[in-house]
């Protein structure tokens, strides 16, 4: 008996020993994110967690790569005017349209072996433009007036509006016609009957490197290699995406080994990651990718105090944004001079810095009639006090910290700022969208490279009761010069000319200051030393679109 026991112990030790000596090549990767995707339908609802997971199971036709260049993923060649795959056409009524031709990757097959064809393209378009189907971003589908099918894999989109972005159809997410057609027989019921939600592990729903094998709602989604994938075989046999909302608990899961890697797209907050890096540099690499997330303060220009440009400039000059990002974010989040990211090719390098200058801010405020009498906030001739309200999303710790820093800095120059925060659904659902904030609202815009600010800066996009509060020009900024520039940029196909228009636009933005630019957010990607091949993108298209490049490398 004793001998048997010791033999068993020995065997056990032998099994365990090599594991402790050097970690074996991992064939399973557990990714931690902070949100669980509610629905897995590629077109219904918009959620970062969903596009993160679907990045592994499917591919859009086009996307922006890590250098923010438009590239083909599911298509074979990017249409341009030069290669003849795109053609500008005149439409009745004097409008200009465009016809763009794409070819689906040869070998692209749904997970059940059925090839991906133009049938799926047409079906997806049908679903997308049906008003009752529940598709979230339907704008693109309705822009397409006709799809001309050339053969099984080649088709031409007839789009009723010509813009420089004509080749980008990243939002066109294919649906498997052979599986989804029955569910769409009654379009109003489609969103409840779609297999993506009723049978999410059906292999035929995906054609990417992985397919979903298990969905444990609220906890995790497991994926395994898709045998019909046309691209290079991904390194990990199995991937688990684990949702843990509490970032402190997420960090603990990472440290305990329950989670291998915390995605930057939906992961730790920046100061948490900085602290983490300082302590665990030996085991983890933290990569900070400055992204197209523009943190800023919208100023309500209907507020008589803020209608004065001098006050707006003084507000900007009175805050030390360099010191703020330097000390709070370890300098990882670049100060913004405008809405265009420094890494975007259209960015103008000669914009005014509006660097910290409290003296100049005080002069501007004096000139605007807000003078300082003793302590407390400044007052104008009528005896009104310079008091402004700054709102943001409650529960966002980073924003709350920044907010308190700004409040404290503004107090130094005699501007009293009162803070009032609301839960995101109230803040975005009511206060900001209906322009109910009295002075300042701090939040972020998430955008794609070279995104035209029509909805945020064009005067037609000011939300009003009579346009049913449509538009996102929450500041109420109306400048005919800006309107004209936006309209010109949209249709200018020549890159060089467009760059010049963009420069003029950015200078105008920096001069008028309808918005106080703060900084561009950076996502911290916390990776174990053995994980290689993740290339943070810094825009809304997630890193998982290149998951076949991820691999294990012995340290």
């Amino acid at each position: 008996m004793y001998r048997m026991l010791s033999a068993a112990l020995l065997a056990l030790f032998a099994a365990v020993a090599p594991a402790t000596a050097s970690p074996p090549a991992k064939d399973e990767l557990v990714i931690g994110i902070t949100q669980f995707p509610a629905t897995l339908h590629p077109n219904i609802e918009s959620m970062l967690a969903k596009s993160y997971v679907l990045g592994m199971t499917r591919r859009p036709f086009t996307t922006y790569d890590k250098d923010w260049k438009l590239v083909c993923l599911l298509c074979v060649e990017l249409p341009t005017m030069e290669n003849g795959l795109a053609k500008a056409v005149d439409l009745p009524g004097g409008k200009r349209g465009v016809e763009v031709t794409y070819t689906i990757q040869p070998g692209a097959k749904w997970g059940d072996g059925v090839p991906v064809t133009t049938k799926d393209v047409v079906f997806t378009w049908e679903v997308g433009r049906h008003p009752m189907s529940g598709v979230a971003a339907a704008e693109f589908y309705r822009r397409v007036t006709r799809i001309a099918v050339k053969d099984e894999r080649t088709f031409t989109l007839h789009v009723d509006k010509l813009s420089f972005e004509f080749a980008s159809i990243g939002g066109f997410q294919l649906l498997p016609e052979h599986l989804e057609r029955p569910a769409f027989s009654d379009p109003t019921k489609y969103r409840n009957r779609t297999l993506f939600d009723t049978d999410p592990t059906n292999p035929g729903l995906h054609f990417g490197p992985y397919r979903i094998v298990e969905v444990q709602a609220g906890s995790h989604i497991a994926l395994e290699r898709n045998p019909t994938w046309y691209g290079p075989k991904p390194a990990f046999r199995r991937i688990v995406v684990r949702a843990i909302e509490n970032t402190a608990a997420l960090e603990a899961n990472l440290l305990s080994g329950a989670v291998d890697y915390v995605a930057g797209e939906l992961g730790l907050s920046l100061d948490q990651a900085l602290a983490f890096e300082a302590r665990h540099r030996d085991r983890y690499d933290v990569v900070y990718k400055p992204g197209l997330v523009y943190e800023h303060i919208d100023l309500n220009l209907d507020n008589p105090i803020l209608a004065d440009r001098r006050v707006r400039e003084a507000l900007l000059l009175a805050i030390d944004r360099e010191k703020l990002t330097g000390s709070l974010f370890g300098g990882r989040q670049p100060v913004a001079r405008g809405a265009i990211h420094p890494l975007d090719w259209i960015h103008a390098t000669d914009l005014p810095a509006h660097a910290f200058d409290p003296k100049r801010a005080a002069e501007l405020l004096d000139a605007a009639g807000w003078s300082r009498r003793g302590g407390g906030p400044r007052q104008n001739a009528a005896g009104e006090r310079l008091v402004l309200e700054l709102m943001t999303t409650a529960g966002n710790r980073t924003r709350e910290l920044v907010q308190q820093v700004l409040q404290s800095q503004w107090r130094q120059v005699g501007i009293e700022v009162r803070l009032r925060n609301e839960p995101p659904r109230v803040f975005f659902g009511e206060t900001v969208t209906k322009r109910r904030f009295t002075a300042m609202a701090m939040f972020a815009w998430l955008s794609a490279p070279e995104a035209v600010p029509r909805t945020t800066l064009h005067s037609e996009s000011i939300p009003r009761p009579d346009n049913n509060f449509s538009g996102q020009n929450y500041t109420g900024y109306a400048n005919p010069e800006m309107d004209a520039l936006i309209e010109k940029i949209e249709v200018e196909l020549d890159r060089e000319k467009r760059r010049r228009l963009w420069h003029t636009q950015q200078h105008l933005y920096a001069r008028d200051l309808p918005v106080l630019p703060l900084y561009f957010r950076a996502d911290p990607f916390v990776m174990p030393k053995w994980l290689r091949g993740i290339e943070p993108t810094g825009h809304q298209y997630p890193t998982t679109l290149w998951i076949e490049n991820w691999r294990f490398a012995a340290p």
Binding site: E139, R191, A217, E430, S447, T455, Q540
Partner: protein, 317 residues
Amino acid sequence: MSHFLVRRLLQATMLVALMSFVCYALIGLMPGDPIDLMLSADPRLTPDDIARLKAIHGLDQPILERYLAWLGKALTGEFGYSRLYSQPAAAVLGPRLANTALLMGVSLTAAALIALPIAVTAAAHAGTGFDRAVNALCFAGISVPTFWLALVLILVFAVELGWLPAAGLPMARDPGLAERARHLVLPVLTLTIAAVGGHVRYIRAAMVEALGQDYIRTAHAKGLHPRRVLWRHALRNALLPYVTILALDCGALVSGALVTETMFGYPGMGKLIFDAVMGNDYNLALLALLLVTALTVACNLLADVAYAALDPRIRQR
């Protein structure tokens, strides 16, 4: 008795019906809508899309109309689709309910089993140092913020010692019973520590009262072994009020433990209700809230009826 029963049953039903409207109205009072939130997650969405989506989900209708429509369907047993999960609300609820029943059931049982011997011993030695120490520990357990306790347990047992997983659910495909149990340890521990103090105090109080009764003195006088008196006679009488209190708390069995579930990433009812309420998922939130309410009301009713059966005076009041 049957008249009393019918009346209470009727009252309970009306209460549940009323609650459904209160819940509906409360969710409606929350300003803003998550569909607007989608704007900040996807720059491609246009305001037209937002208006269209709201219309599809009926969110542009007045609240009373929506409630009546919901009520009509609910009475036929159709609780509609969850807006967040695009699945029938009942189908979303099922697995969560099972998870929560498991987590809360195990924690409750653990708390009761730990509390019983401690409380009985403390009551038998009321006023001694042991009793005081137990009392102090109970207060300590009750007074810790749960999320803090959870975080400390994770940091100690999962991160520093590496003995236990920090997550409440295993991620393997077929984890097996042992794996599931291992993952449950920390969340159960959190809930048990937070609850056991209360249980000890209930039982101890009931025991002290029972020990002061005449029949205990009689039992002692009869020369019965003190341990037998304590564990058989006194405990049996002390258990009745304790079980009643447990019955009144049984709503917690389905409402779950939001904080613990959040900290351990455990998909239970607490988190579901929170997400459904925050996400304006009327169908799901209502069904879940109604379930909790109905169970609480039912348990109250059961306790009342049990008491009425035991004590005829109550019926007349």
